[in-house]
């Protein structure tokens, strides 16, 4: 009985912690303390936190592979949903505040600008993942299909890095640093997939990690 409670408490704490950057941004925006161009600053920060949380959700499996520590797998869904939450804030900030609902201009941006196209694509790819994140949906889709669908997150993460890289004018250090993190996380997965399967390990690996 104590264990589920502790687990719920831990999840609630981590969930709340991930909201701190958004709350801080909201407060600074409200106080006009985000510098001369608060809209650009808020957009950048929301985008950055989307990426950070996305990478955090993608780090759970590699941690398990490298250390055998299972616990982070239980946070994966939560982190993924937090990333989606930030992606929504990022996107709606662009639509509502940055462009002021100028849908003609927005459509042109998305169609004509590579960096906008890939950013938008990354966001769209996250939608089905968020929608099918419930246990019920896992059951409805069947685990293998659900898992295949959720591999889209790899594509979304790559697109997010490309979006960031193409946005920058010339100082590529930050986007490349995040890209490097993604690369390492993916390499651990590849290494794990290529490893000769042992019966015991294989069983553990294919267990639905998002099960409570």
């Amino acid at each position: 009985m104590a264990r589920p409670f502790r687990e719920r408490a831990a999840k609630a704490a981590i969930g709340a912690l991930a909201l701190v950057p958004a709350a801080r941004l909201g407060w600074l925006f409200y106080r006009d303390a985000l510098g001369a161009n608060p809209i650009a600053e808020a957009l950048n920060q929301l985008g950055l936190w989307t990426l950070i949380l996305l990478l955090a959700s993608l780090a759970c499996t590699p941690i398990k592979v490298l250390t055998g520590w299972n616990y982070p797998l239980r946070l994966r869904r939560l982190l993924g949903l937090e990333a989606f939450f930030y992606a929504c804030l990022h996107f709606s900030m662009y639509i509502a505040v940055d462009q002021g609902f100028d849908f003609g201009e927005i459509w042109k941006d998305i169609v004509k600008r590579k960096f906008m196209t890939v950013g938008f694509a990354a966001f769209v790819l996250l939608i089905p993942l968020a929608v099918t994140s419930t246990n019920k949906m896992v059951k409805r889709l069947g685990f293998p299909r659900w898992k295949r669908l959720h591999r889209l997150v790899y594509v979304a993460a790559v697109l997010a890095i490309v979006h960031f890289t193409w946005r920058v004018k010339s100082d590529l250090r930050q986007p490349l640093a995040y890209g490097l993190v993604l690369l390492v996380l993916m390499l651990v997965r590849v290494f794990d997939w290529l490893r000769p399967r042992r019966a015991a390990r294989g069983g553990a690996r294919s267990a639905p990690s998002s099960s409570p």
Binding site: R31, F101, D109, D171
Partner: protein, 327 residues
């Protein structure tokens, strides 16, 4: 909803307080309605335009004083961008690539002694000390729009003098077709030059007729004071109808040449930054639209004007040219 700011407003900011408060109210209201905001912002513009401008704090003791200058020689009927934004939100990669980096790091720049070498295709080449430059050239205030290639803009009260008047005295030869300018190269003073984000030193250039145009100035101050280091002290170019990066900062060399000189951003990405880089809402940057811009301090974007609103003065320089090709 009106949110009261606690009474900790610094006395140095008193003149800008009105605008400051109003501006914050717009942001707070932003959560409520976008439509209402546009109306409010329109009001802000006209109000701020007619009231006192958001001036800088008094110059610190020991600051370099400017000779007297003719106020408001050229102005625009738009609200000036507050000094704290003009001096706190800068692209000056020699001091870092974040907008706040220059204000933080530029204190290491030594602006005295400083000379500018005028050389190349001129009859009277001369290396001029900055203080001589200030003495010899009658200064005037020019309130110009500044449009950054990143789609934001400001209105800045520069103090300077026309580059053309000075060049004329140095007697350009008939072979002088372009002006090539160079920023100081001093990685020990400019930490950003230790990173290869651009090829250092920063170089820029103009066609001769652009350089001689009366709107083109060498600026030595803004808001009645000597240029803050982060704005390109002690002397920089200002070409108001071109994107901001053309207005090269902290100049040490001005060379008149026969052939079109290399320019820093063009060298970095020739498909994105042309030699001309005239502000043009119809020619987009490959990665973003240039049709609108965000005036710093405003919430909704405003339309970008051809030649940044200076078309009547400068469009004739480009008569017959394909501006989409010569971007």
């Amino acid at each position: 909803m009106l949110i009261r700011r606690p009474s900790d407003v610094r006395s140095s900011e008193i003149t800008s307080r009105g605008l400051y408060l109003r501006r914050r109210d717009f942001l707070a209201g932003g959560a409520a309605t976008a439509a209402g905001l546009a109306v409010e912002l329109g009001g802000c513009k006209t109000q701020a335009g007619t009231s006192t401008s958001p001036a800088p704090p008094p110059a610190p003791a020991g600051a370099i004083a400017l000779p007297p200058y003719k106020a408001n020689a050229v102005t625009v009927d738009e609200a000036k961008t507050p000094f704290k934004d003009v001096s706190g939100y800068n692209n000056f990669y020699e001091f870092g690539t974040d907008k706040s980096d220059p204000a933080q790091n530029a204190h290491t720049l030594r602006t005295r002694p400083w000379t500018v070498a005028f050389e190349g295709e001129i009859a009277k080449p001369r290396t001029i000390d900055i203080d001589t430059l200030l003495k010899e050239n009658p200064l005037e205030e020019r309130v110009y729009r500044l449009r950054c290639v990143e789609a934001w803009s400001m209105v800045i009260p520069w103090i300077g003098f026309p580059l053309g008047a000075l060049l004329k005295r140095l007697e350009p030869t008939s072979r002088a077709k372009y002006v090539a300018m160079t920023t100081l190269m001093a990685p020990e003073q400019m930490p950003g030059q230790r990173l290869p984000v651009l090829e250092w030193p920063y170089v820029e250039g103009l066609r001769m007729d652009e350089a001689m145009h009366p709107l083109t100035i060498l600026a030595v101050g803004l808001y009645g004071q000597a240029l803050p280091n982060q704005n390109g002290a002690p002397v920089r170019l200002v070409v108001p109808w071109k994107y901001g990066f053309k207005s090269i900062k902290s100049i040490v060399k001005v060379r008149l040449v026969e052939k079109q000189p290399p320019t820093a951003w063009n060298r970095y990405a020739p498909n994105e930054y042309g030699f001309y880089s005239n502000v043009n809402p119809d020619v987009d940057h490959p990665r973003w639209s240039q049709s609108k811009e965000r005036r710093i301090g405003e919430l909704s974007r405003r339309k970008t004007l051809p030649f940044n609103g200076y078309g009547a003065e400068v469009a004739s320089l480009y008569a017959g040219m394909d501006l989409a090709k010569n971007f």
